[in-house]
């Protein structure tokens, strides 16, 4: 009826609109019918049909039509919309208001599933396969390549929709071979002194410190092992790899393989074949969450004890459950909402089990990733904000005035430092755990450099200052050797100054000039001198802070013809951090976020705006139409904003760009390196004012004042929506928005559940939102609420 009234007028006969004919559906073959229904379902769901110039459907008609299409398609397992709505990009297609209205009381659940392990979990699982604990756990394995890669986009990246494929298999074949060889090697080598061992690859001399007795029993025999021994060896590998015992049916199959492999290759090769085979089970690469019978009245099954323990552990970290959690689960005390709350609270208060680097890939020769007690909680926010993507944007050194270092061999470069500093802010706010959302968006407190904690930094500065005071009135510039000789005992007592050994004159002079330029001017120097080996701190300017001395600044102080240092302004370093940085407000004005949401040569107001629309306002922006290849035109007299507006403000483009531009353009107050600015240099040859004299410096160009005007729409709060003067005003209003808070909670849901929310998750989301409000803005309360919810505990 609805179809006839609203669709057939245009979609029938030879002149059907778009060639889509709905009048002869029954005559078409089944695949064609399903295809047509899928297309019609999409058009209806995404609001593209009926078109604007046709009579609209009322809510009832819309529902009747949608229900009919979906039931027909689902009956045949053919609903492509269902498949699409599982993708991260479609998370916001469930109406925000409906989710938080509180009127949906359906019983929540997550579909029974296999969830591909993340790269981090995979690595921890390999450690577990070898039974490594404590210091024996490895950061890298010589012969193991991580088969998994998460996508780069901002937002939640690890969903349960990914599949194992041929690429994973190829990598796993090599991994399984290497791991099983090491397992057998350890068993064969048990009791033999390391020095006497012959390693097949002399460059790969690691092997697990422990070998199970079950495998030693196999490899130490020359004749065929007894069935009981084979069973024990198989069960041991099941326990190591799959964390369960093999079923009788599995045992039968593995026993056959074992015997046949022994016959072909002997005990060692036979064992290795079996060990490899278990490693190649797809179960090793998935988190299995199927639920346990019996089902409740709604058809939902609780996670089994084992599944529950792993689900909790993997929600809060990358390692499997700690022994206590496993024990609690096995004794039937991980079932109820209260059980989950108790255990999650316990684990959130455990500052050791999950402790580790937030992102080991940032660590290099001169910088180590920030370490957190709960890296995974920090990881949610870094993925949500997407600021780690700054390491993927390559920049031109000259445009940064010589300060930007692109990631390169052994270093994540400037963006690596910036990402670490953003991680620190997130972790610091999470530790405070009050008004977390608001603080992340509005804090003016930043960590910059901060390579020593506040106490250590204070001590270093006190010691340096005392030494400077001690020497400053001596003739250290003209007679350094004499001053050193006169103060030999004083210097010896201060070994941390490193004014020692054969190069003590050079070191002494370097320190004194460094201090003269800082203490001498009433300022505090950075707590690591620029002449320290491997010095790489060079990025304060991206916060609009003065630079610290260049690595080579004090190189010439010992030369005969040294005539003194040029006068330069350096940063009065705040030892106590975090500290307020002017013209910054929260993570959206952090250089790491601004660079991550910029291009190689210019800002990206559209991407910045889209991020706010989708991540903070739970909004939707259609993908760029495939026929659009829009380029920002060149015009040497216009700012980048003006040039963007030249191509995005025509009627056809504005339909989508109005969702993004007014939110992103206020950030034109920051350039593509994240530096705050009032004017924009018009970087075109005709605007050149002066060539720089500085090596890798930025030439001077004519400038134009940037406009930071914008508009906030879509908070559904009248007092917040409306024009804004700049990013700071926009951020203040966003931080007050209920929708923004709830949107972040929706993303947290996706992060911890590994899927998009459904309407049946409404109770879970409302509860999590309430938990946040009632706890004074505690993110941990949100985590406890989500992880003890029905959505987390039940499968269907």
């Amino acid at each position: 009826m609805v179809l006839r009234e609203h669709c057939l007028e245009c979609h029938q006969g030879d002149s059907a609109e778009g060639g889509v004919r709905l009048n002869n559906l029954n005559a078409a073959t089944l695949p064609k019918q399903l295809d047509l229904l899928n297309r019609a379902q999409d058009q209806l769901f995404f609001g593209l049909m009926p078109p604007e110039d046709a009579a609209p459907l009322d809510q009832r008609e819309q529902r009747i039509l949608a229900d009919w299409m979906r039931s027909e398609l689902r009956l045949r397992h053919a609903s492509k919309l269902d498949e699409k709505l599982r993708q991260p990009a479609y998370g916001n297609y469930i109406e925000h208001a409906a989710l938080f209205a509180g009127s949906f009381k359906d019983k929540a659940f997550t579909p029974a599933r296999r969830w591909l392990v993340s790269p981090q979990i995979f690595h921890e699982r390999v450690n577990d396969v070898f039974g490594l604990e404590g210091r024996d756990r490895q950061k890298n394995f010589y012969g193991v390549t991580n088969p998994f890669v998460l996508p780069d986009q901002s937002g939640v990246r690890d969903y349960d929709i990914n599949l194992l494929d041929g690429g994973h298999l190829l990598v796993m074949l090599n991994n399984a071979k290497w791991i099983s060889e090491k397992q057998v090697f350890a068993a064969v080598s048990k009791g033999i002194q390391r020095q006497k061992l012959i390693f097949p690859n002399p460059k790969d001399r690691w092997y697990p410190p422990n070998a199970p007795a079950e495998w030693i029993a196999i490899v130490s025999k020359s004749d065929a092992p007894a069935e009981g021994e084979l069973v024990a060896a198989i069960q041991k590998q099941f326990d190591n790899v799959l964390r369960r015992q093999a079923s009788d049916q599995e045992l039968d199959r593995y026993l056959q393989l074992f015997r046949s492999a022994i016959e072909l290759g002997g005990n060692k090769k036979g064992l290795q074949t079996v060990l490899s085979s278990v490693l190649l089970e797809s179960e090793f690469l998935y988190r299995t969450e199927l639920g346990e019978e019996p089902a409740d009245a709604s058809g939902r099954r609780l996670l089994s004890p084992q599944e529950a323990a792993f689900a909790v552990a993997y929600a809060l970290g990358d390692r499997g459950p700690d022994p206590l959690l496993l024990k609690v689960a096995q004794s039937g005390r991980l079932k109820t909402n209260e059980d989950f709350r108790r255990e999650i609270n316990r684990l959130l208060n455990d500052n050791q089990w999950f402790k580790g680097p937030v992102d080991p890939s940032l660590s290099g020769k001169n910088m180590q990733s920030h370490v957190s007690t709960h890296p995974k909680l920090v990881r949610f926010f870094r993925e949500f904000f997407g600021y780690p993507n700054s390491t993927k944007i390559f920049k031109d050194l000259k445009r940064s005035d010589g300060f930007y270092q692109n990631p390169s061999r052994g270093t994540a470069g400037t963006p690596g430092f910036l990402v670490k500093e953003a991680d620190r802010i997130v972790d610091w706010i999470l530790l405070g755990d009050k008004n977390v959302v608001e603080k992340l968006l509005t804090t003016d407190q930043y960590f910059v450099y901060h390579d020593k904690d506040n106490e250590s930094g204070k001590k270093v500065i006190a010691q340096w200052k005392e030494a400077y005071e001690h020497f400053k009135d001596t003739d250290w510039k003209n007679q350094p050797e004499k001053v050193i000789a006169d103060n030999e005992d004083y210097i010896k007592d201060r070994k941390s100054l490193r004014i020692l050994g054969g190069k003590q004159k050079r070191e002494f002079l370097r320190y004194m000039y460094y201090w003269e330029e800082s203490f001498g001017k009433g300022q505090t120097p950075f707590t690591t001198p620029s002449f320290a080996h491997g010095y790489t701190y060079n990025h304060s300017t991206f916060y609009n802070l003065p630079p610290t001395p260049h690595i080579f600044r004090y190189n010439t102080v010992v030369q005969q013809n040294f005539k003194g240092l040029d006068d330069e302004e350096f940063w009065n370093y705040p030892v106590k951090q975090p500290f307020p940085v002017p013209n910054r407000k929260g993570l959206l004005t952090h250089p790491a976020w601004l660079i991550a949401h910029s291009g190689n040569f210019h800002t990206d107001p559209i991407r910045r705006g889209r991020w706010i629309r989708e991540k903070l306002l739970a909004g939707r922006v259609p993908d760029v139409p495939i026929t659009v290849d829009a380029q920002v035109p060149d015009d040497p007299h216009k700012t980048f904003r003006e040039r963007v507006e030249m191509v995005t403000m025509n009627e056809q483009c504005w339909k989508c760009h109005q969702q993004m531009n007014p939110l992103g353009l206020p950030f034109e107050g920051f350039d593509d390196f994240g530096r705050y600015r009032l004017d924009e240099p018009l970087e075109a040859p005709e605007n050149l004012v002066a060539k720089t004299k500085k090596k890798n410096g930025f030439d001077s160009y004519r400038t134009k004042t940037v406009s930071t005007l914008g508009e906030l729409k879509g908070t559904t709060q009248e007092e917040l929506d409306g024009p804004v003067n700049d990013a700071f005003e926009l951020i203040d209003r966003l931080a007050k928005s209920t929708k923004v808070r709830q949107s972040i909670i929706r993303h947290a849901f996706r992060f911890f559940m590994g899927r998009n929310e459904m309407l049946s998750d409404s109770v879970t989301l409302v509860d999590a939102d309430r938990a946040y409000l009632e706890s004074g803005g505690s993110f941990r309360s949100v985590v406890v609420s989500l992880l003890s919810s029905d959505s987390f505990r039940y499968r269907k």
Partner: protein, 464 residues
């Protein structure tokens, strides 16, 4: 404007690029037309652009060359530089291509997947952005192995960090964060690639064990997949299919046993030893490369002739020396030879390798011509123009068979210099090759952020 058609074509190609194993499309592969083959040979320590200039250039040509002005000169009638003399029989197939830049790559000493992937790579797998160009080509040229990589690994620095005989991470990449693995020694390569036809009892048993395990795991996973439905089914089904595909590949290789056996590399024991000179290692690998191509096991081979950290032994007249290429890069003489002369010796050895390959392929009939007619060979540095390179130049020596669709032919070509109008990058060059052989990508590789000119797309004049 990108048309819907080209977008869909490109999109589909891109989408299939990571997930599919090469052998998936074997069944559909047309057998009639001889396959196209690609050989990538790369070297460390830079390739000095000046060393490629024919000594017979006249004053005017030399002046243009020295000023890095665009040049296009027919090589007919010109002598090749002395070190290139082993290629004199192949001059009609030869192109010397100068003036490409590669500043979007890691440059300097070691470059990992940079020169084949056109991005800034380093030892971290996370730096691998996408499949290297040889893998992109291999995807279009189905064969049982898809792609084979051989390497004279460095002993220090760079890849592998010293395990020069093993199967280690190579210089090619299958996809984002997916390194390829290369065979370090001829012995290991023969064992692995030709294990299905091995006559050695131990190797035979190992192969059978491997097959037994694969059959077991494939059956297990297929059984499990059969019990699943909905979204869960492909999560295991896909994996089971991939296992089945590996088994089909092995079956296909087994079915080629006769042809593989006929083309087994015939190597003396010295080439299969654990300790062999660099030159012998190269010779051994070259025989394996030829066997793999001729037997049809693969159509794309990448061979790391050396890397900066590869210690050279066995070079003519300095056979006993253990040449440290890093020292040579810094101008250190070896025995009575200056650094430049040592560089020349190394390059000349590479030319012998190329001659060995081209001559052999020219001797094998295929279709109405020879196997070489359907082959392209690239010789290039892994890091650009010199030891401490900046990537302003990336010279290529190309040998192309008669059936190449590329318009290169017997020329010395110098493209406009860095940042000059019409300047071309490594990305443009690879885009040209990919486009010419059917991959319609708009641009392959990262862009040079310091280059203000339009740097996307193929080099049109080579597309004919």
């Amino acid at each position: 404007m990108v048309t819907r058609r080209t977008f869909v074509q490109t999109g589909l190609l891109g989408a299939s690029s990571v997930a599919l194993l090469p052998q998936l499309s074997l069944a559909e592969a047309p057998e009639k037309k001889p396959p196209t083959r690609f050989i990538f040979l790369h070297k460390g320590n830079g390739l000095l652009p000046g060393s490629l200039v024919p000594p017979t250039f006249d004053k005017q040509q030399l002046e243009l060359e020295n000023r890095k002005q665009p040049l296009e000169i027919d090589l007919n009638g010109h002598d090749l530089p002395q070190w290139m003399s082993p290629l004199s029989d192949h001059q009609k197939n030869l192109t010397i291509l100068q003036g490409l830049s590669g500043k979007m790559c890691t440059t300097g000493h070691h470059t990992w997947c940079s020169s084949l992937g056109v991005f800034k790579a380093n030892e971290r797998l996370s730096s691998i952005k996408w499949a290297t160009v040889d893998f992109e080509l291999a995807k279009m040229l189905p064969s049982p192995f898809g792609h084979i990589e051989l390497a004279c690994f460095p002993g220090g620095g760079g890849n592998s960090r010293g395990n020069i005989n093993g199967i280690e991470k190579g210089f090619s990449a299958r996809g984002p964060q997916q390194p390829n693995y290369a065979f370090g020694s001829p012995k290991v390569a023969v064992q692995e690639l030709f294990k299905s036809v091995s006559t050695n009892q131990k190797s035979k048993a190992n192969y059978q064990l491997e097959q037994q395990m694969l059959r077991f795991v494939a059956e297990n996973q297929a059984n499990l997949a059969r019990q699943l439905k909905g979204f869960e089914k492909p999560k295991v089904g896909n994996y089971a299919d991939a296992l089945a595909n590996i088994r089909s590949r092995d079956a296909r290789v087994e079915s080629m046993a006769d042809v593989i056996r006929r083309n087994m590399p015939k190597l003396d024991e010295k080439y299969l030893a654990d300790n062999l000179s660099t030159v012998d290692r190269q010779t051994g690998h070259t025989e394996i490369l030829l066997s793999a191509l001729i037997s049809g096991m693969t159509n794309v081979v990448t061979f790391t002739l050396d890397e900066l950290g590869t210690r050279y032994t066995g070079l003519p007249e300095i056979e006993g020396e253990n040449v440290n290429q890093h020292d040579v890069g810094h101008g250190k003489a070896v025995a009575r030879f200056s650094a430049l002369e040592v560089r020349e010796k190394i390059r000349q050895q590479h030319m012998h390798v190329i001659d060995q390959i081209v001559k052999r392929l020219k001797g094998i009939p295929e279709g109405t011509g020879t196997m070489f007619d359907n082959t392209m060979l690239f010789y290039f540095p892994d890091n650009g123009e010199t030891h401490h390179s900046h990537g302003t130049e990336w010279p290529f020596v190309v040998l192309a068979g008669d059936n190449t669709p590329l318009n290169l032919g017997r020329r010395y070509i110098r493209l406009p210099g860095y940042a000059k109008e019409g300047h071309k990058t490594l990305g443009n060059w690879y885009t040209t090759i990919l486009n010419a052989y059917g991959n319609p990508t708009e641009h392959y590789g990262a862009l040079d952020v310091g280059l203000a000119i339009d740097q996307k797309g193929p080099i049109q004049k080579f597309l004919g």
